[in-house]
Every structure is written in structure tokens, then in C-alpha cells.
Symmetry: C2
Subunit: 359 residues, 2 copies
DNA sequence: CTGAAAGCGCTAACAC
DNA sequence: GTGTTAGCGCTTTCAG
């Protein structure tokens, strides 16, 4: 027991009524002042502002939202925040939302595959969010609910990392392009037997990346054998296991496109242990451009995806939809946005033995 | 232009009044039903529930919070979500909040050092959050505002990653212990010249980790020279640079405690290039236990900190404070919680050449 | 330029 | 069990 009471005596929040009384005006006048309306005389305004200052008055957003039917709040649904990808996206979301004057009500699903989503949507809607940002990757059938629920949603909703489709507003990374860029680069390095460690194929993104790999091989006239790819689950452990299997079942392999950097790290470790020199014996390209990738050994070539940009783009689009729908105008047509990835070349894929780029 | 209008015609949200009319009862009865009060006849309840179902009625939380003076919302302030640490903590926060029936209003500071914080607090308070969770690490003077603002905060607040102090509710990791465990382990491995790559020393956590290192050396009777430590900024690039400098200014060094795994990764790369064998020539321990750490080369010994646990502990404590203060009871005394870290030993610090632990 | 009245959607407090 | 009245804190509408 200590004698300092904690928490300290709570201050009651002042109301607009109290401000009005203290300033000797009506609540309407105070309201005009806090809303920066022009139709208040300078003296009255000063007077009111002084009282507000003195009382530490802060308008109650709840009451405001209630009457204005506008909460300036975005409902953001995410999953897997313990991984760096989703959190980088969230970073872009919060930053952009803040800039546009919106608050973020965050909901993290317990798993990527959470079902049903009904209660989550309901909670968000009950809180009167102005729009919803669904930032959970498309996996298996976790988009099934959309066509059931979408028609009667009272607010705009936008989907991240989703197969673009009619009637849906989607912002996604062009994963196919990413897989293609990585694999074409390997072709250009003179590799002719290019394997693939894919992500879990119930993930839409994993399928896209794999299809980019297939495209690049086809284009180069290289055969795509069944044994040239193995499925992982994004983790380094799975990358280790998958790569080990790949080496075994595809002994001719002289390059590999690994669907994310974490799995590539696992693969690199197998290579070390097995005495496979990277890139001399085997060239490797990853995906994601983790902050750590330049410091892998050797530094890892990879595909850069700007997840923050993805998040902020989605927020901008959502806010546009919200504002359009508030104006009673014809709402925006559905329109998908595909963000382009970029190839980053480092030592792990350079067959021509040049000085290793450490940065 | 396509002819499917998007978004589809918005459904107006039904109100309690409409439900009441449709069910032929008063709004009060509907209110009783949705609040699961016992004093409604079974028939009436059924009747009302049917109408609710049919109309897809969802009570408006804003209106509810307004009258109940309770929003069941936690204001969470964070920073640096693009880094894995803060997002793992956030993961723990959202999960625990959900479980306890609270929503999360998220605010990410543009930088760790953002100042002033006044507007952020005001926004949260305007939205009538029931409590605030300040999940920004203590850096430089970014806690200065506390004693100015704390006394008149109308809701409980809890601080993460903060120097425990009288009058403040704090949940932190025991960083000193972590640094101590790492360094003592190196001593036990027979190392006698143990260097340190610290984090930026304006971070409280960095100072704590360094002081743990000092403690372990003192305890072992080893001298702590000025040249035995260099400051980094948490990034791999800074780790590379700092370690390079350390090797130069402290040539006798046979072990190093690096204040996080990312910097350790940079240091490992320098070691590779310089032909310093880890752990034979130099033992290394990191801090954080990144998911990637077991796949570094060699696998990195490190200090595990459970950041999710940190977040969920803070939420539990905050909700307790909220509930205590609602009961008009004597509020809880300030009381700090220190979460313990754990040493994880892998190949990078094992001088006795055993089989390398790849898992 | 300022204020009075009404009401956003809901529930506390009381009646019956 | 159920309804009535009042009001949470604010803004809309309209009057002056």
C-alpha cells in the first residue's frame, strides 16, 4: 500500500453545455466555434475559445457521429500481425488513414481462415464505421461469405490481396508478375533447370507466384516438369524441408525461385550444409524483400513488394468510395488496382561472378 | 462503364424504433431483449427476436456508449509497425482485447519520437475510449509529457516498455536480465573478452540490455573497457558497421553480445567476409529471437522475448484498472509488471563443437 | 450573428 | 412484464 492514490482523481469531461454556460452563450454558439463556422463574431469566438481552453473541453465524437451519421472511422480487418507482411500493410493503412482524418478500428482475426466473419462485420457496423478494409489474404474459401453478405452491407468495403472480380473493389499486388520477373531473371542468367518452392497452394498469392514462374519457363521454351516444384508453408522450416526434397527429386536443377524470403533462408541453410554453392552451383531468388535479405549469405535476390503502399492505396480508394457515397452521387464502379512488384538483384542469383553486393 | 451498379444499393440500418413498431412493442422492450434482460416474457422475446432477425437489426454502439458512458474501446498507441517487434506486441494486444470484449482504436505515431502527443490523446479521449495503452518504447524524452498530462486524464492509462516508476502503471520486458543472461552464457562458454554492440543508447531498452552485459562481466571479474562496446541503431546495416569497428578497436574479443538479432545478422556477414569463424573464433548471442534466427549461419543464440505476452498482459491489466475505476472503488495502486526473457542457445555461441542445432 | 426547439438511437429510472 | 418520460452530448433547422 502506498499513500499516493493511483490512478489520480479522474477529471470529468466537460460538456458543451458547461462551456456554453461558462461563456454566457448558447450551446449552438459553442458548436459553431468548435466547428469553425464563419458566422460567429470575433469577440464571441475569442470568449468561447478561452473558456474551452480553460475547461480543457473536448467535443464528444460519439455524440457527434450519432447525429451526423458519420464516424470518420475505418473498420480494418487483418490477420497474422505477428508476421511482418500484414503489419507492414497495416503500417501503410494507419499512416494514410491518419493523413485523411480517419480513425482506425482494428480487428485481427484469430487465424487467416477464420469463419464465420459475420460477427466481425456486425461489430464493426454496430460501431458505425464509415467503410471497411478487409486486409486478410484470400485463402481456400475464405471469400465465400462475400456474395452472401455484400449486397446488404450499408457501407463501402474494399478487399486487399484478393482475386480481382466483377462487383468487388480490390487492391492486390501483382504476384504473377513478381513470379515471372524472378524466374525470367534466372533464365537470363543462363539457368535452364529452374525449380520452384511455392507457398501453400490454397493461398491465392502462392498460386499466382507459381503461375508467374510457369509463364517465364514456357516463354523461354523450358519444360515444366511435375518434379520441378514443391510446396512449402511460408516458414523457414518448411523452406528447408521443401528445398531438400526438391534437390533430391530434381537433381539437374541449377536455379530455384522460392516464393518468399523466409523459405529461401531455410533453403540457403540446406545449401550450406550440402555444399551447394549459391549462386555458382545454384542461383536463387526469393520474394518479399525482407529487411534481412541483403544480409543473408549470400545476399538474396528477391522481389520487392511494397506492402505499405498497398495499404495506403487501399485507404485512399476506400475513402474515395465513402465520400462518393456520402454525396449521394452515383457510386464509383468497381475497379481493381494491381500494384507492381520490382525485382531486386543481389549476389544469390548472379552467375557471372562479380563482386558481391553487400548493401 | 458497366451496368452493374457498385457498390450495390446501401441498406439503411434499422433502428430500435422500427423494430419496436414492427413487433408491436415499445422500444424499451426491444432494448430489454437485446440486452438479454430476464424481465421479458418468453413470447414477447421470441416475437422481438424474430423481427430483429428479419430486419437484420444491429444496435448502434455509438448511441449505447453515449448513454452508458462506456465504449468498450481501448485506445492503443503504437509506433514502428513496419518492424516486427511492435507488431508482435500489437498481435498480443488485439487478441487479448477481443477476448475480453473490447474493441481497439489504433493510433500509430509517425515516429518513435513523435511530439507533441497532446492531439493523439485528445482524439482518443474525444472518442470516449475506456482506457489507453501506450505501446511506444521509451526513447530520449518522449515520456516528458506524462507528468503534465497524467493528472487530468479521465481514463486509466498503461505504459509498455517504460522505466517503471512511482505513480505509473507499467508493463515492460526485463531487458537487463536479458542482457545479463546472454553475457553470462558467454562467460560460461569460457569467453573472456566479451564485446557488445548496443542499440541506440537514447532507447531505454538499449541501455538496459547494455547494463545487463556490464553486470555479467563485473560479476565474472572481467574488465569493461571503453573500447569493448559500440553503438548501433538496431538495423542490420548498423550492426555490420558497428561490429566492423568493434573488431578493429577490440582485437582480443572472443565473444560478442549484440543487442538485437538484426544487428547480429549484419555482424555475422562481416564475420564471414573477414574469415572469422563463429563460434570457434568468436561466439555470438543476439536478442529478440526472430523467426529467422534459427536459420542464420550459424544458427543464432539469442534472448527470447515474448512480445505477444507483453501486449496481452498489458491489456489484462488495463481492463482491470478500467473495471476497478467503474466500480467507484478505490482504484488499483500503481504496480509494475516485468516480463522475464529466456536464453535460447544455438550454434553461434557453443564453443564446444557439437553438432549444430538446425531447428 | 445568435438562440430555441427538436432529435440522432439508445437506456436509466420510474411508473403501472 | 411492459410502457412512459427524460436525457446522454451534440448538431440540424429554423426563427429572429
Amino acid at each position: 500500500m502506498n499513500d499516493t492514490p493511483f490512478p489520480p482523481q479522474r477529471q470529468r469531461r466537460a460538456t458543451i453545455k458547461e462551456v456554453a454556460q461558462a461563456a454566457g452563450v448558447s450551446t449552438m454558439t459553442v458548436s459553431r466555434v468548435i466547428n469553425q463556422r464563419p458566422d460567429v463574431s470575433p469577440e464571441t469566438r475569442q470568449q468561447v475559445l478561452a473558456v474551452i481552453q480553460q475547461l480543457g473541453y473536448q467535443p464528444n465524437s460519439l455524440a457527434r457521429s450519432l447525429i451526423q451519421r458519420r464516424s470518420y472511422t475505418l473498420g480494418v480487418v487483418t490477420a497474422g500481425l505477428k508476421y511482418i507482411g500484414p503489419s507492414r500493410t497495416l503500417n501503410g493503412i494507419t499512416t494514410q488513414a491518419e493523413e485523411l482524418g480517419y480513425n482506425v478500428l482494428l480487428d485481427e482475426l484469430p487465424s487467416f481462415n477464420t469463419d464465420p466473419v459475420q460477427p466481425i462485420l456486425d461489430t464493426l457496423l454496430a460501431r458505425q464505421v464509415d467503410g471497411i478494409l478487409w486486409a486478410v489474404p484470400e485463402i481456400g474459401s475464405n471469400r465465400q461469405w462475400i456474395f452472401e453478405r455484400l449486397p446488404d452491407l450499408p457501407v463501402p468495403i474494399i478487399f486487399l490481396t484478393t482475386q480481382p472480380q466483377e462487383g468487388l473493389m480490390v487492391v492486390s499486388m501483382d504476384n504473377t508478375l513478381g513470379g515471372y520477373l524472378a524466374s525470367r531473371h534466372l533464365v537470363e542468367q543462363g539457368c535452364r533447370a529452374i525449380g520452384h518452392v511455392s507457398g501453400p497452394l490454397d493461398w491465392w498469392e502462392a498460386r499466382q507466384r507459381k503461375s508467374g514462374w510457369q509463364q517465364a519457363l514456357s516463354e523461354a521454351g523450358l519444360p515444366i516438369s511435375e518434379t520441378a516444384s514443391v510446396e512449402g508453408n511460408w516458414s523457414s522450416a518448411s523452406g528447408e524441408k521443401a528445398f531438400r526434397q526438391l534437390v533430391e527429386q530434381y537433381p539437374l536443377m541449377d536455379a530455384v525461385f522460392v516464393a518468399n524470403d523466409q523459405m529461401a533462408l531455410g533453403a540457403l541453410q540446406v545449401a550450406h550444409q550440402a555444399g551447394i554453392r549459391v549462386p555458382q552451383d545454384l542461383a536463387m531468388v526469393g520474394f518479399d524483400n525482407l529487411a534481412e535479405a541483403p544480409y543473408f549469405w549470400p545476399p538474396l535476390s528477391t522481389v520487392q513488394i511494397d506492402q505499405q503502399e498497398l495499404g495506403s492505396t487501399a485507404v485512399r480508394a476506400l475513402v474515395q468510395m465513402i465520400e462518393a457515397s456520402q454525396l449521394q452521387n452515383q457510386p464509383l464502379p468497381s475497379q481493381s488496382i494491381l500494384v507492381k512488384p520490382e525485382l531486386i538483384v543481389r549476389a544469390s542469383s548472379l552467375r557471372t561472378l562479380r563482386a558481391i553486393d553487400n548493401q
